[in-house]
Amino acid sequence: MDAVQFEDFSYHYPKTGTGLDQVTLSIPVGSFTVLAGANGSGKTTLCMAMTGLVPHFFGGSMSGQVRVAGQVTTDRPVSDIAAGVGFVMEDYESQLVALTVFDEVAFALENTAVPAAMIRIQVAEALAAVGLTGLEERELSALSGGQKQRLAVASVLASQPKILVLDEPTSALDPEGSEELYSLLAQLNKEKGITVIVADHDLAQALPHADRMVVMEAGRVAFTGTLDEVFDRMLTEQVYDSAVPALRRLKAALETETRKFSPWTSADEAVAEINASLPPMRRLSLSA
């Protein structure tokens, strides 16, 4: 089953003429996908096509189609698609429109005439999921950057979407903030079965959490697959290879025809394997 399916989808913005070309891509239900690529390669457009903003909001020309949860996006209004696909935009601060935390999270539900009692329950759940319980009455201007980010996530979680799309969510966060956000997403992915799609430049952050990766290049899908497959191809075909995390670049630089390493996810794993392949007299006695 695919959560999102692009079928030979091409799209061009009306003003600039840039966009996507012949994208065919399947994102499986329950996967955690990281979306990589240079600026201008089409990551944001791809995100917007999953939420229906492309083409509904921007106009422009398109061919092919996008299916979200089996349904073609052009057949439904954006708000309808968005109830199933939560979208946290790059400029998430401007995405927030209400005065208080509660009102922000309740906003989409209120707009779609969900009964008030139900709204209270869903808002409470969404705030609990992102760890903002207790701040319901707090004004948005009194929140930190990281809190605003989590609020943006809560505001889309309130509609109980099956898919969560985040466009460069960590660019304003410090390393801890990024790690917390990724842990939160991983938790939503595992515990609630939400399909998560994150566009990001820092792939090292995504490495421990994501299980699939898509690399965009000039409006097309360059690679798609598991992280290991895609990193290998990025390095061997030298496509956007500078973005490959340090551990994987090191692995590639040390491997030969006869010497292979397993896909490291931590420095410790790397140290252990490298040590084992060193000449015995050079080997370290690695104690814990």
Partner: protein
């Protein structure tokens, strides 16, 4: 006032303003002001607003004094200053005791103002702090490039381009993101839920009755 329905609070504020327009007796106005300040203290808002109130008092005093050279009688000049005070404090009192979202909810579902207009009002308030922060940031960025405020007013206006243009352009991109956000979240749908408690209770009707009586009395005995 916190326990009153938001619409009742709004009506009360309007009524107070009407009374202030009608009453010219400085003693009565001063009494009203005293009651308001007591209410502010009761609502726990006084400390926060103390500085602002003092400034307001200065403005009102100034307003009263500048009328004197124009042959305005002293009590009338004092009264007009007091009127200004009372009306402003009435609005402060309302804003201090009513949650804005509740007020919008009331305006939309009880006064039947279209939700889009009410939303425009709250979103203006939502973006005000961001806008102020943004203007500081732009100003500092330009100061670091040598921007100095000139004494010459004409040069000053020209120099403002360095501050205004980045802000306008930012506001445009920002409004586009917001428009997308609204579209994603089903803004402008036919039906809408309000989670706020806005219904009238017994005490609200009591206050309304009181407003009617006082208004009648003010008209009759002014």
């Amino acid at each position: 006032m916190k326990s009153l329905a938001p619409l009742c609070n709004l009506l009360l504020t309007i009524a107070v303003s009407v009374w202030t327009v009608l009453i010219w007796d400085p003693a009565s106005l001063a009494a009203m002001l005293a009651v308001q300040i007591a209410l502010l203290a009761y609502a726990g808002q006084l400390r926060k607003l103390l500085k602002g109130l003092f400034g307001l008092l200065m403005v009102a005093a100034f307003f009263s004094v500048i009328q004197l050279p124009f042959d305005v009688a002293v009590p009338i000049a004092v009264a007009s200053g007091l009127k200004m005070m009372v009306m402003t404090v009435a609005v402060l009192l309302m804003l201090g005791t009513t949650r804005l979202p509740s007020l919008t909810a009331a305006l939309v579902s009880q006064v039947k103002i279209p939700y889009e207009y009410a939303f425009m009002f709250t979103s203006a308030l939502r973006f005000m702090p961001d806008f102020i922060a943004e203007s500081h940031a732009v100003r500092e960025a330009q100061i670091c490039r040598g921007y100095v405020q000139s004494r010459n007013p004409l040069k000053r206006i020209v120099a403002y381009a360095a501050l205004v243009e980045p802000m306008v352009l930012r506001a445009i991109t920002r409004s586009e993101t917001m428009a997308m956000s609204l579209e994603l979240r089903g803004f402008g749908g036919a039906r809408r839920t309000f989670t706020q408690q806005i219904a009238f209770a017994g005490r609200d009707y009591l206050v309304l009755a009181l407003i009617a009586v006082i208004t009648a009395a003010v008209i009759r005995y002014r």
